[in-house]
Symmetry: C2
Subunit: 209 residues, 2 copies
DNA sequence: TATTTAACGTGACATTTGTCACTTCTTTTC
DNA sequence: GAAAAGAAGTGACAAATGTCACGTTAAATA
């Protein structure tokens, strides 16, 4: 199986090459030193996997990955990063990178390489928890005032968050339209908001799956 | 290395066991048939990895994983799912599961197992894109109608999405309140929505960071 | 038992939002 | 240059939303 390594530090590239070629059935067919090398090397060799540093002088690994993936979305690109406090993870996942690993412990790169080659996605343990969808919508992030809502009020809030109007909410919850209006009014008061639209925004911010 | 398999279908468990023990240096030390088995088996054997079905009769794999992880957060649990349209992925990531794979292609389970054992996280390619922070805010996911909006309309939409009322939008964009109303009306028409609240919901769904 | 408190409802009213027909101005196109 | 298309505005009107004072019921408490 063919592999390309792209890293602006030749020491990293060569130790990676050494480790990979000694432990598995991969051949490093090319080594690049900048993101700009990724596209031409990819087209020339059509490797099974690309291992690429995310921080490089001229063109970043992210840009390079984006270019390659827009050309070939199934390309198996693993980005390597030095720091775990990494804000690029979301963008990397979005463009379709198949792996995102810390450079640190080299020995875990081999199994990750295998997993990516077999079609899975692999991410460093320290990195995956940077995803906002994991941290945001837990009930611990709810404002204190939310606790003061009655069950009915929470139901109404939920339906406002779906975009229903008062009549529709009334029908769904078997209450009168007047009551719904009242209930919405109470919600606005309790949550210190000014309109039903702001209620919906509140709901989505806190409860979006 | 020790492994536990938990699946309510004995056919699945035994074929997994066969594959794993033939291809790698793992020993399946126990097989459970329900989520409720996870905790006692984990405590008894302290396995390196747990492979567990997510859908089981009595207790789900998710609940079981949650129990084990609250006892031992570093436990390496891989959940297996049958369907890729899987809404549990977020909750699974949140509780700290280290892998989430489709049962389908058995052969990719071995490399994934290795990667997880070496400390990485592994997710099936079909699954990772269920994360809302990945799927929502790309411009490719925008409905075709969005392209028909004028610049002004996009600005108004943005402010509706912040919860501003017509007067406030008019002041911000230096236009009359009547124009804003008109603009909102056009937005509703173009996007086939029925109220400003639904506009805000539309905005948040597509543009939330 | 009497009192308080909270959930829920009602109806009148004020305000905000949404619709529609029509105008103005600009750009594009023939 | 005339016609067409579309972005933006105006004003009158209709509909939905939000507010308020007040009523009913039921549970909690003195």
């Amino acid at each position: 199986m063919k592999l390309i390594i792209i890293d602006d530090d030749p020491i990293v590239s060569s130790s990676l090459k050494k480790i990979i070629e000694s432990h598995s059935n991969y051949t490093v067919v090319a080594i690049g030193t900048d993101g700009a090398d990724a596209m031409p090397l990819f087209i020339q060799y059509l490797p099974d996997v690309i291992l690429m540093d995310i921080q490089m002088k001229h063109q970043s690994g992210l840009e390079a990955a984006s270019a390659v993936l827009s050309f070939q979305p199934s390309a198996k690109i693993i980005l390597l990063t030095t720091f775990s406090d990494d804000e690029y993870i979301i963008e990397a996942l979005r463009i379709g990178v198949k792996g995102y690993l810390l450079k640190q412990n080299f020995q875990s790169i081999i199994p990750s390489l295998e997993a990516v080659a077999s079609g899975q996605h692999v991410y460093g343990a320290e990195i995956i928890h940077k995803l906002p969808s994991l941290s945001s919508p837990t009930k611990y992030s709810l404002p204190a005032q939310y606790e003061s809502l009655s069950e009915k009020e929470k139901e109404v809030l939920t339906l406002v968050g779906q975009g229903l109007n008062n009549k529709e909410i009334a029908d769904s919850l078997h209450m009168s339209e007047g009551s719904v209006r009242n209930c919405v009014s109470t919600l606005l008061d309790k949550l210190s908001l000014k309109s039903r639209t702001q209620l919906a925004i509140f709901f989505l911010k806190h409860f979006r799956k």
